[in-house]
C-alpha cells in the first residue's frame, strides 16, 4: 500500500539531462545512490513511500547466522547534527532473510540487492555468505567488519588489519558475488586497513560505518543508551567520512562507496568528488523517508545546473591532477 502521505508531496520525477548511471563492479547502477545498511531495514517499509526500483541499489540490514534480538533500549539518542544508535544487529537471521525478505525484494526487477553480513567469528561470516551465495537475488555482499554495537565481534575485524585480511580471504573463498568490505572509522590509519583489505581480495570498499560515541543523561546520571556506547552517524560525521573517502580512494585501485551524513544531493556530490564511485544514505532516511530519491533528484539537478553530462565526471574531481591532498 502506498502511504497516503505521498499525495501531498511534490513528485520527485525530475527530468535530468545528465546520465546518472555508473558501473560499479559487475553492477550497472542506474544512479550511484543506495540506502545504507541498517537504515532501510529490508525495504518493505519505504516501499510504501516510493518505488524501490528508483534506487541505484539497496543495502539491507546486517544479516547474521542466527536471529538476533539486539541490545536493550534506549537504543537511540539525538546529538548535535547526528544521532547515536546501539541497535546491536537485530535481524531475523540469514535463513529467514533468504526465505522472507529477499523474495519480497525480487519483485523489484531493477534493484540490485546488496546484503550486509555481520557476525562474531570468521566462521559465522563464512556460513552466512555461503548461504547467501546460493541465492540468485544477491548482487553483492557487504562485509560489516565495523559494527561498534556488539561485544566480541564486528569491530575487532575492522580495527586490526591482519584480522580484516584473514576475514576477507576467508569470505572471498566462498562468495560467488562481489565482496564490498565496510570499513570502520574508529582506527588510527584507515588507509592501512583499506590496503590490507584490497590485498586480501576485496572487490570494493564502503566507508564509513559509525564512530563510537556516548551521551550522558545528566538528569539520570548515567549513559543514556542502555548499552553505554553507540555509533555516531549523521551530518556531524560527514567531514570525517569525506576525509577518509578521499584518502582511501587515493590509495587503492578498487572502487569506494562513500557513506556518512549525506542529507542532500550536494553532499553526494562532495563524496563523489572526494573519490567515491557511489554513495550510501543512512540517517537521512529516518528524517525523511523520501531521502534517497530526493537526493537522486538533487544530484541530477546539480549536474544539470553545472553542465555535467555524466555523473562519472564527478568521481574524484576534487583531487586535481595528482590525486593527492595539496600541502
Amino acid at each position: 500500500m502506498t502511504h497516503p502521505s505521498i499525495d501531498r508531496r511534490a513528485s520527485y520525477d525530475a527530468h535530468h539531462e545528465v546520465d546518472l548511471s555508473v558501473q560499479f563492479l559487475t553492477l550497472s547502477l542506474k544512479n550511484p545512490v543506495m540506502p545504507a545498511s541498517g537504515c532501510f531495514a529490508f525495504g518493505r517499509e519505504v516501499a510504501a513511500f516510493y518505488d524501490l526500483n528508483r534506487l541505484g541499489a539497496i543495502v539491507v540490514k546486517a544479516t547474521t547466522l542466527d536471529e538476533r534480538q539486539g541490545n536493550e533500549t534506549p537504543r537511540l539518542a539525538e546529538t548535535p547534527a547526528g544521532m547515536l544508535n546501539s541497535i546491536g544487529l537485530q535481524n531475523p537471521g540469514v535463513l529467514r532473510v533468504i526465505d522472507e525478505e529477499l523474495p519480497y525484494l525480487q519483485q523489484y526487477d531493477r534493484l540490485p540487492v546488496i546484503v550486509n553480513v555481520a557476525g562474531t567469528a570468521i566462521e559465522d561470516y563464512v556460513q552466512v555468505v555461503e548461504r547467501l551465495s546460493q541465492v540468485n537475488a544477491v548482487a553483492a555482499i557487504e562485509l560489516n567488519i565495523s559494527c561498534p554495537n556488539v561485544k566480541c565481534g564486528g569491530i575487532q575485524f575492522g580495527t586490526d588489519k591482519q584480522m580484516a585480511a584473514n576475514m576477507v580471504r576467508a569470505i572471498k573463498q566462498v562468495a560467488k558475488v562481489p565482496v564490498i568490505v565496510k570499513l570502520s572509522p574508529n582506527v588510527t590509519d584507515i588507509v592501512e586497513m583499506a590496503v590490507a583489505c584490497e590485498e586480501a581480495g576485496a572487490d570494493a570498499l564502503s566507508l564509513i560505518n559509525t564512530l563510537i560515541g556516548m551521551q550522558i543523561d545528566i538528569e539520570k546520571r548515567r549513559p543514556l543508551l542502555a548499552n553505554g556506547v553507540g555509533g555516531l552517524s549523521g551530518p556531524a560525521v560527514k567531514p570525517i567520512a569525506v576525509r577518509m573517502v578521499y584518502e582511501v580512494s587515493s590509495a587503492v585501485n578498487i572502487p569506494v562507496i562513500g557513506i556518512g551524513g549525506i542529507m542532500f544531493g550536494a553532499d553526494a556530490v562532495e563524496f563523489l568528488m572526494a573519490g567515491a564511485s557511489a554513495v550510501q544514505v543512512g540517517t537521512a532516511n529516518f528524517v525523511d523517508p523520501f531521502a534517497c530519491v530526493r537526493i537522486i533528484d538533487e544530484l541530477g539537478a546539480w549536474c544539470d545546473a553545472h553542465g555535467v553530462r555524466s555523473v562519472i565526471e564527478l568521481i574524484g574531481a576534487a583531487k586535481g591532477e595528482r590525486g593527492v591532498v595539496r600541502s
Binding site: 497516503p4 499525495d7 501531498r8 541497535i87 529516518f286
Partner: protein, 259 residues
C-alpha cells in the same frame, strides 16, 4: 510526509500545549486509529535531527484537522511550543497501530497517566460512537498538570487521581482499579508512563480483564526502518523485540514484557 499548516497552539496546562494542525492526509479516506501518532520535525535545523512522536488526541473530520497535546519535555518540544498558527510543520503520519476495536464490547475502561492521557480522547469518542460505555481513570502529579478532563467527561464518567491530592482522589490510578470497580468492564485501554503501565498490567491481569497498553520508546524513523524503538513482546511462544512504531505503539497487554 507532508508540510501542513498550524491551525492553533494553546497552552492547556503547566508546560502543556494543544497543537491543532491540518491533517497530513485526508482522514476521511485514510483510516486512522486512536493511539496512532504523528512524527513531527520540530525545526529544519540539524540540532533537532530526529522527529518527535506525539499521539493523535482529537480529530475534526469536517475540517480535516487534528490535534496533539504535549508537554514540554526537552529542547525539541520547547521549540515546538514556540510555533504559532500559520507556521508550517513537517509531519509524517498518522503512524503505527492504535487501539483495536471490539464491536461486541459494551463497557470500556480507559486509563491514562499524565501526558499519556491525550490519545484516550479520540479513543473515547470512537468507543462512544460504537455505543460502548466509557469510564476513564486519569492520574496526574498535581492539579496544574491535569488536562483533557472535561473533554473526556463528554464521553462518560471520569475518575481523577492526583499524586498530591490537589484534584480528585489522592493516590495512584491503580488505587482506583479494585476488583469490584473493574468487574463492570469488558476491556481496558491504557496509556501513560512505563511504571504506571506495568502496575496496571499487573493489577488488571489479576482481575483477568483483557486490555491494551500503549508503549513509549525513543524513536528514530517512526516507520520501522531503524529498529530503534523496540519493546519485548511475548507472542507465539517466544519473546521478540518488536518495533513500537510499526507493530505498536499499542500492544495487547498480555503480550507486553517488562524487565
Amino acid at each position: 510526509m507532508a508540510l501542513v499548516q498550524i491551525i492553533s497552539q494553546q497552552s492547556i496546562g503547566a508546560d502543556i500545549f494543544e497543537l491543532t494542525l491540518e491533517a497530513p492526509v485526508d482522514l476521511r479516506v485514510f483510516p486512522y486509529e486512536p493511539g496512532q501518532f504523528l512524527h513531527i520535525r520540530v525545526t529544519d535545523s540539524f540540532d533537532f535531527l530526529l522527529r518527535r512522536p506525539l499521539s493523535l488526541c482529537k480529530v475534526d473530520l469536517i475540517k480535516n484537522h487534528l490535534s496533539v497535546v504535549y508537554r514540554v519535555q526537552g529542547q525539541g518540544t520547547r521549540r515546538l511550543a514556540a510555533k504559532r498558527a500559520g507556521e508550517i510543520l513537517d509531519v509524517l503520519g498518522p503512524l503505527g497501530h492504535g487501539y483495536p476495536k471490539h464491536k461486541d464490547d459494551r463497557a470500556a475502561l480507559l486509563i491514562g497517566g499524565g501526558i499519556g492521557v491525550p490519545p484516550l480522547v479520540e479513543l473515547a469518542r470512537q468507543l462512544r460512537q460504537d455505543a460502548q460505555s466509557v469510564h476513564t481513570v486519569v492520574g496526574f502529579q498535581t492539579k496544574a498538570q491535569a488536562i483533557l478532563v472535561s473533554e473526556l467527561e463528554t464521553y462518560g464518567p471520569v475518575t481523577v487521581v492526583t499524586n498530591d491530592g490537589s484534584l480528585g482522589n489522592h493516590g495512584l490510578v491503580t488505587d482506583v482499579l479494585t476488583q469490584a470497580f473493574c468487574a463492570d468492564f469488558d476491556r481496558y485501554y491504557a496509556c501513560g508512563p512505563t511504571p504506571m503501565l506495568q502496575a496496571v498490567q499487573r493489577r488488571l491481569s489479576e482481575w483477568q480483564l483483557p486490555g491494551y497498553l500503549s508503549l513509549e520508546e525513543r524513536m528514530g524513523c517512526g516507520i520501522g526502518i531503524c529498529v530503534g524503538c523496540v519493546h519485548k513482546i511475548s507472542r507465539n511462544g517466544r519473546i521478540a523485540q518488536l518495533k513500537t512504531c510499526k507493530e505498536g505503539p499499542v500492544f495487547d497487554a498480555q503480550e507486553v514484557v517488562f524487565t
